[in-house]
């Protein structure tokens, strides 16, 4: 066993750091320094910068424009990007539908979609959840019926579609055989958001930002060539895609950064004239959280090494999802506590609080979602109980 990275891997980390020092435009760097929320345009600007460098899709094979990095380097790259506070790229194209098309798409589909995902020319969103199909995804109802002219007509509603208001394309799970048993009648379609009959309604989150939308389909016509995989065979794809969604779910870089921010705030917040960071009670709490994060980080490294040895990510990824989401939430709880009265401010309106890290309260609220989306933590625990611990069902 060995905990160190190889000299080549460390050299790569240095290379990434050196590049990052100059690659971010000033306005993005300023926001990154205070962990501010990035607008869609800024995220896409950063997407194009990474694309020019060849690093936009570390996990894509060279054949489709990936940098051909091994698993460890991919991880290093991702971690460094997170640590630098770089805008998080939209995962729906790069991490979800892209890899899925590589696995299940036709040659024509790959050629049509993958280059545009890579270049950031087409932005995607994920149409899985419905008002009555959340954890129970297989009970989804959005219908796709053949119109007799080689196309399908979509009717129904998706919900919680993150950033659908910015998306050019959506991938949707649809019901194509209402008589088959739940999982058997589902198909996977790609739909152009400009299709007549598709409308989105953004919804505010408790973080104060319009992050997700309701997406409505009213007689929206989608050509048959946009079906991915076999008709009624969408459930296999759905599950494969969730596997892709869960990679990187540990968010170690984000939590590392969040703990640094807690320390930074604690270093400048005074209690009885002394920085809070010198307060033994707070030091112990920050240390405890950092140690829990260290445990997560090591578990993540183990998963990466295992992947490098060719093992597909299994139900163990649920461990990373459960702890990663909980630790990130705890980081923001602690940040809010360290901020004391300043944490009461909503976006530091009028700039009345000097130096206030104004996004903390918004993130504190929004990160309640990390234990819900991508398969809630209860569902992850069910997965571990069934698939790892082999416990019987009730």
């Amino acid at each position: 066993m060995d905990l160190s990275f190889t000299p080549e891997q460390s050299a790569f980390r240095d290379e990434v750091r050196a590049w990052l020092r100059t690659a971010m435009p000033a306005h993005i760097r300023e926001k990154a320094a205070i962990d501010a929320h990035f607008e869609h345009d800024e995220i896409m600007e950063w997407h194009r910068i990474l694309h020019r460098k060849g690093w936009v899709a570390p996990h894509w094979p060279a054949e489709w424009g990936g940098p051909g990095l091994d698993v460890a380097r991919r991880f290093i790259l991702t971690e460094e990007l997170e640590l630098a506070g770089a805008p998080a790229l939209s995962p729906f194209g790069l991490s979800m539908v892209g890899p899925l098309l590589m696995q299940f798409g036709t040659e024509a589909q790959k050629k049509r979609f993958l280059p545009k995902i890579l270049a950031g020319e087409e932005v995607w969103c994920q149409g899985y959840s419905e008002p009555n199909a959340g954890s129970d995804l297989a009970s989804l109802k959005l219908r796709a019926e053949p119109d007799g002219n080689g196309s399908y007509v979509l009717n129904g509603q998706k919900t919680w579609t993150t950033y659908a208001q910015h998306a050019d394309w959506i991938f949707v799970l649809t019901r194509t055989d209402p008589n088959a048993k739940k999982q058997a009648g589902i198909s996977f379609f790609l739909a152009d958001m400009k299709t007549p009959g598709i409308t989105v309604r953004p919804t505010l989150t408790i973080g104060g930002t319009p992050a997700f939308c309701d997406t409505f389909f009213e007689n929206a016509v989608v050509p048959a060539e946009n079906l991915v995989g076999p008709l009624n065979g969408g459930w296999t794809l759905a599950k494969a895609l969730l596997g892709h969604e869960r990679t990187g779910i540990a968010a170690v870089g984000l939590s590392t950064r969040a703990i640094r921010r807690v320390k930074r705030i604690a270093a400048t917040t005074l209690e009885r004239g002394r920085p809070l960071l010198e307060h033994p009670g707070f030091r112990a709490r920050i240390a405890r959280l950092e140690i829990e994060l260290t445990a997560l980080k090591m578990a993540n490294y183990r998963a990466i090494v295992s992947a490098q040895e060719g093992h597909a990510p299994g139900p163990e990824s649920s461990i990373l999802k459960i702890r990663g989401s909980e630790i990130l939430q705890q980081c923001f709880v602690l940040a809010m506590e360290v901020m004391g009265h300043d944490s009461l401010s909503w976006f530091n309106e009028a700039g009345v609080i000097p130096g206030l890290e104004q996004w903390v309260a918004s993130s504190f609220n929004y990160t309640r979602a990390t234990t819900i989306y991508g398969g809630s933590n209860e569902i992850q625990r069910n997965v571990i109980a069934k698939l790892i611990l082999n416990l019987p069902s009730a």
């Binding site: 129970d136 408790i206 005074l270 707070f282 809010m336 609220n365």
Partner: protein, 387 residues
């Protein structure tokens, strides 16, 4: 011991609950998030008409002579309905005037408050003070028979709208000294009183209060010069006890909301409330709420205790329990609602945010843990015979 409410108290509680349900549903608070004041004089007047604003004040001051237990019953209902009117800040400032003020000051401020014609604010926290009320950097310097006040007070609840603000300022000594703190009551519009409204994370309003050389006469001082630390400590504890009562209202409401949701939401062809993992979570929410309620009752009773050690240990215990329970209960409430709980349009998030504010104001968990363990009572009973 007796934990039963008297018939009068039961009536007060049920009347308040029914009134708030009818007259101030959460939709009202939601609409007021966009308002620059954040509450309405009409509703304030109705609260006065119900006798709530006079509850905490003795009959000699024009009030109804209720105990803090009575007051807490009302506050809990205000929490349950997320009522944004400045009940607690007015209660604190009013109590400071009652305890430390002269008959003339009583006459000037209390009857109009009790009638619902005015509202008050209480400003003690400063940028560097965190939760220590003796860490006062603001100064009040004597100039002839006047005082000139300089400094800044942060996140003053109702500072944006109050007709008068009770502020702490130092007439001698340095930050952290108990001696040398004085209280002043400053009227709205006083020259040099800079009021900067801020939106708080729970959708309400507060203000940063700048004291840019506010000149007041001696008649604005509450109580003896430099001797306010005791009253200040009591008033901050009163605020903490009030936050506990409001928090219990918040927890009870989200618990009910969550249980209702577990009973109706279907996934996997069943009500999600049939999943034992969620049943046990709901049970833990209930258990935590009951414990926080118990310490809140203790705080309501002890807040008037003449022994400061008894008072402080009870208040600190309740505030710590509130933080632990409140965080758990409101976090779980969102979790069990799934995606809908993350939307701004669902009420559960509003309660979650209010809970955070209640956990912070008048001392957070860390502060009260430290204060609890610093009381002489903490080491009582372990003395060895050796000394």
């Amino acid at each position: 011991m007796d934990f039963d409410l008297s018939p009068d108290q039961k009536l007060l509680e049920s009347t308040a609950a029914a009134f708030i349900r009818k007259e101030s549903p959460v939709t009202r608070m939601r609409a007021l998030r966009e308002d620059s004041v954040g509450w309405t004089p009409e509703f304030w007047k109705k609260m006065a008409d119900l006798g709530w604003l006079g509850l905490a004040f003795p009959e000699s001051a024009g009030g109804f002579g209720g105990s803090f237990v009575d007051v807490a019953l009302v506050i809990e209902q205000l929490g349950a309905g997320l009522v944004p009117e400045p009940f607690i800040p007015s209660l604190l400032a009013g109590t400071a005037i009652l305890r430390a003020g002269s008959p003339a000051q009583h006459e000037r401020f209390l009857p109009s408050l009790i009638a619902g014609d005015t509202s008050l604010a209480f400003a003690y926290a400063e940028r560097g003070s965190r939760f220590d009320p003796t860490w006062v950097e603001s100064t009040a310097t004597r100039e002839g028979s006047d005082y000139v006040l300089r400094g800044e007070k942060v996140f003053v609840e109702n500072g944006q709208a109050a007709d008068a603000i009770v502020v702490s300022a130092r007439t001698s000594g340095g930050p952290g000294d108990a001696d040398g703190i004085s209280l002043f009551v400053l009227e709205r519009g006083a020259p040099g009183l800079r009021v900067t409204p801020v939106k708080t994370m729970d959708g309400r309003r507060a203000a940063m209060i700048g004291l840019d050389g506010v000149r007041v006469s001696e008649a604005s001082r509450l109580g003896p010069e430099g001797g306010a630390a005791g009253v200040l400590d009591e008033i901050v504890d009163l605020g903490a006890a009030a936050a506990c009562a409001e928090g219990v209202g918040v927890m009870r409401t989200v618990l009910q909301m969550t249980v209702d949701y577990l009973r109706t939401r279907e996934q996997f062809g069943v009500k999600i409330g049939t999943f034992q993992a969620l049943q046990h979570r709901a049970v833990d929410m209930f258990v935590r709420t009951e414990l926080a309620r118990s310490t809140s009752i203790m705080a309501s009773i002890r807040v008037a205790d003449p022994d400061p050690v008894e008072r402080r240990t009870a208040i600190s215990a309740a505030k710590v329990e509130l933080a632990i329970a409140g965080r758990f209960v409101t976090q779980q409430a969102i979790q069990l609602h799934g995606g809908i709980g993350i939307t701004d349009e669902h009420d559960v998030g509003l309660y979650f945010k209010r809970m955070h504010v209640l956990n912070v104001v008048f001392g957070d968990e860390e502060h009260h843990l430290a204060r609890f363990s610093a009381q002489p009572s903490f080491t009582r009973g372990i003395e060895t015979t050796a000394s």
